[in-house]
Amino acid sequence: MRVLQGIDVADMTRFNPDRRAPLWWGILGLITIESAVVLTFCVSYMYLAAYAEAWPPSGEAPPLLWPSINLALLMTSALTMFLAGQAINRGNQRGLALGVTTSVLLATTVLVLRTLELMAYEFSWKDHAYGSIVWAISVFHYVHVTSIVVGSAVVAILAWRRYFTSQRQIGVVVDTNYWYFVCIAWIPFYLLLFWGPRVYGQ
């Protein structure tokens, strides 16, 4: 059988920093899976709340101030992460390093605040289903913030060592997208954990 030259790819790019990269799709897959996990946690919370006699059992809705501050910090960190990505698109390595480092510091602040908040919870996960689901969701998100902090710290180290360029930046794209997911996942959790009792309690 004759074998003919159909398409020549010798001159095609070997760098695929945007949507063409398989890794971009891979991280989208991870985000989809984790979004379904977030949704399932939310549904479980609502299911337990719907069948509970009092939600929360103490009758007192949790305070709003610190969780709202955390929400603002996370959203700001997503913005600085976005700016970092824009910087490396223009080839600005210092801007990337600064942006990622700022985001890591903001998220670390969130971790400190969340630790203090968790220590101040007046109930344990052993007390009742409300305590169990609130702790489970809180720790679930806490672990995710921890993972983006340590993961992005590695990206920051590479960024300060000028590893990334406007071409070689798929690592940044992946890290940024996962960062957005963790920050946005806090919105439904925040609404449910801190505004939910005000709705179910009525």
């Binding site: 398989p22 489970a136 340590v150």
Partner: protein, 636 residues
């Protein structure tokens, strides 16, 4: 779509040096340590298939022991405790450690070959998924040897599986095992989706994709959306058991029914996750053994996609006896009946394809025809149990046992064995014996029906499932004895295939590249393929590329990929136009290290929560080592 060819297409002529270099680039290292570094998709796929069949054998032996225990009334072959462990392990291993991984294994092996590429999108992740699966399976069977095996059934209902009623490690092992399978299945699913959407041979637009690839794609999407529910439910259960949370504890305000909702929201799609790739295998085999294009390609694709969607709306039909609201029950009855429509469309398309065709009755085709008979019976009893009054009557009886063995063995295992016969020459380079294959089929087909058909009657007579024995006066002895005899015949049938497979490795006839005259790309390369799969990535112009080439006497290929590193072509999602080249990673030990690190965490938390933290950082450091850029950095 047409592929522009250069004015006056040039012949592609390969020098032996170039081929040798390509071989070296894609080579998987040998030796004991080398084994843990393999990343080539065919190596990983083959391991998934072999490991899954070993679990099939082990769980099958458990099934035989269960049948021997039930062969006559009031037997004491294995006591009630061991019986509980055996039926739990039988179901769990068959569903989680055989059915899902074997389908993934075939998809991992054949999807890249069928779409004409050299590996999958994330080769190292593939290896990671395999090791997690392997370690999980070893832990599970280890627990059986230590008499610590789970014993609360494969769906593990609370409160039975709660701490109060199931002390000991058994259920902890079950939840841990679920975690292993979640990780392994999800990595494979993402891998398959990205590979299928981005790495098809140029010209293979979505509407030219082989039907098995479509089925694998739908299966992968179903895994992505179904598995998260069981991630959450198994996490909540393990927290209840280890950290004293109250999710499913009524006294603490928990809701046992939440478990059933979450589990079956996963568990129902799960049975279709097993069925859907089998549907793809059936279409593939029918095309080849009728030697003509399939009838209703578009209808077949749409009905597979429809099955994927509808299967998410069925989970409550496992819960008809839990006292749910009337309206909800009606909805789920309707949805359960709806699934018959796309399934029916498939069957009719296949019948139309077979109608008037010159069918070649080789062994793979026989298993497919066996599927028709068995699956239709299983489907009919499925329509029966979709009706609530009938379901209430037969709930938790042997009628259900008969029903789901008809749909699972008939729907998945028969096509799977057919596909094994079909693809065996491609995997091993040897043909299996046709005569032995036919013996195997008839023994399995007769044995299967003798085993499971009487169970319908036993169920209608009121014999509940999951009892380790029954009184003589119940009058169930004769049919049970018949079922046990059938089980031994069925096992003999599968045993013949096992011997046939092993024998063929040494004595089987050498296979040509395309022994069946099939039209899809996996047959366009050697049997077994070289490490690089294809000497040149093919260019495709229809759904049946090999038949085109046979007719035209010529074919077009991609040129310009480098031989000194692992390069594959990236194409666009819909039209498969080439858009770039991806450099894939070489063999490495890090996926194995990461899998061990993750396993330390999964198993460790049974004994102490601190293992979660330990494993978190172990996995983190191994991932950093995995992804850390090595010099020389790519500069072009």
């Amino acid at each position: 779509m047409t592929i522009e060819t250069h004015a006056g297409p040039r012949d592609v002529i390969d020098s032996p040096e170039e081929t040798a270099q390509l071989e070296r680039t894609w080579h998987s290292p040998g030796g004991f340590i080398g084994w843990f570094t393999h990343v080539n998709q065919r190596m990983i796929g083959k391991r998934f298939i072999i490991t899954a069949f070993i679990f099939f054998l082990l769980a099958g032996i458990l099934g035989i022991v269960i049948r021997l225990q039930l062969a006559a009334p009031e037997q004491q072959l294995i006591g009630p405790e061991l019986y509980n462990q055996f039926f739990t392990m039988h179901g769990t291993v068959m569903m989680f450690f055989f059915a899902i991984p074997v389908m993934e294994g075939f998809a991992i092996y054949f999807v890249p070959l069928m779409i004409g590429t050299r590996d999958m999108a994330f080769p190292r992740l593939n290896a990671f998924g395999y090791y997690v699966y392997l370690i999980g399976g070893i832990v599970l069977f280890g627990s059986l040897l230590l008499s610590m095996a789970p014993n609360a059934g494969w769906f593990n209902y609370v409160p039975l599986s709660g701490k109060l009623y199931s002390p000991g490690y058994g259920v902890d092992v079950w939840t841990t095992m679920i975690t292993f399978i979640e990780v392994s299945a999800l990595t494979a699913a993402v891998e398959l989706i990205v590979t299928t959407l981005r790495m098809r041979a140029p010209g293979m637009s979505l509407n030219r994709m082989p039907l098995f690839v479509w089925a694998a794609l739908v299966m992968s999407f179903m895994i992505v959306f179904a598995m998260p529910a069981v991630i959450v439910s198994s996490t909540l259960l393990i927290l209840d058991r280890l950290m004293d949370t109250q999710f499913f504890v009524v006294a603490g305000g928990g809701e046992p029914l939440l478990w059933q909702h979450l589990f079956w929201y996963f568990g129902h799609p799960e049975v279709y996750i097993i069925l859907v790739p089998a549907l793809g295998m059936i279409s593939t085999i029918i095309i080849t053994f009728t030697r003509r294009p399939i009838y209703g390609y578009t209808a077949l694709v749409l009905s597979v996609v429809a099955i994927g969607f509808v299967s998410f709306g069925l989970w409550v039909h496992h819960m008809f006896t839990t006292g749910l609201p009337q309206l909800g029950m009606s909805f789920f009855t309707a949805a359960s009946a709806t699934i018959a429509i796309p399934s029916g469309v498939q069957i009719f398309c296949w019948i139309a394809s077979l109608w008037g065709a010159k069918i070649r009755f080789h062994t793979p085709m026989l298993w497919v025809l066996g599927f028709f008979a068995i699956f239709v019976i299983g489907g009919l009893t499925g329509v029966m149990v979709a009706s609530i009054p009938f379901d209430t009557q037969v709930h938790d009886t042997f009628f259900l046992v008969a029903h789901f063995h008809y749909v699972l063995i008939g729907g998945a295992v028969f096509p799977l064995i057919g596909a094994t016969y079909y693809w065996w020459p491609k995997i091993t380079g040897r043909m299996m014996s046709e005569a032995a294959g036919k013996w195997s089929f008839w023994l399995a087909f007769i044995g299967f029906n003798v085993t499971f058909f009487p169970m319908h009657q036993l169920g209608l007579e009121g014999m509940p499932r999951r009892i380790y024995t029954y009184a003589t006066e119940m009058g169930w002895g004769d049919l049970n004895l018949l079922a046990t005899i059938g089980a031994l015949v069925l096992a003999t049938g599968f045993g013949v295939t096992l011997i046939n497979a092993i024998w063929s490795l040494f004595r089987g006839q050498q296979a040509e590249p395309n022994p069946w005259g099939a039209p899809t790309l996996e047959w366009a390369t050697d049997s077994p393929p070289a490490f690089y799969n294809f000497r040149h990535i093919p260019v495709v112009a229809s759904r049946w590329p090999l038949w085109d080439w046979e007719r035209d006497g010529e074919r077009a290929v991609v040129t310009g990929l480098r031989n000194d590193r692992r390069e594959v072509v990236l194409t666009s999602v819909l039209d498969a136009k080439p858009v770039g080249v991806q450099v894939l990673p070489a063999p490495t030990i890090w996926p194995f290290v990461s899998a061990v690190a993750a396993s330390i965490g999964f198993v460790g938390i049974i004994f102490h929560p601190i293992f979660f933290v330990i494993a978190f950082f172990l996995v983190f450091f191994s991932l950093v080592a995995w992804f850390w850029p090595r010099r020389p950095w790519r500069e072009d």
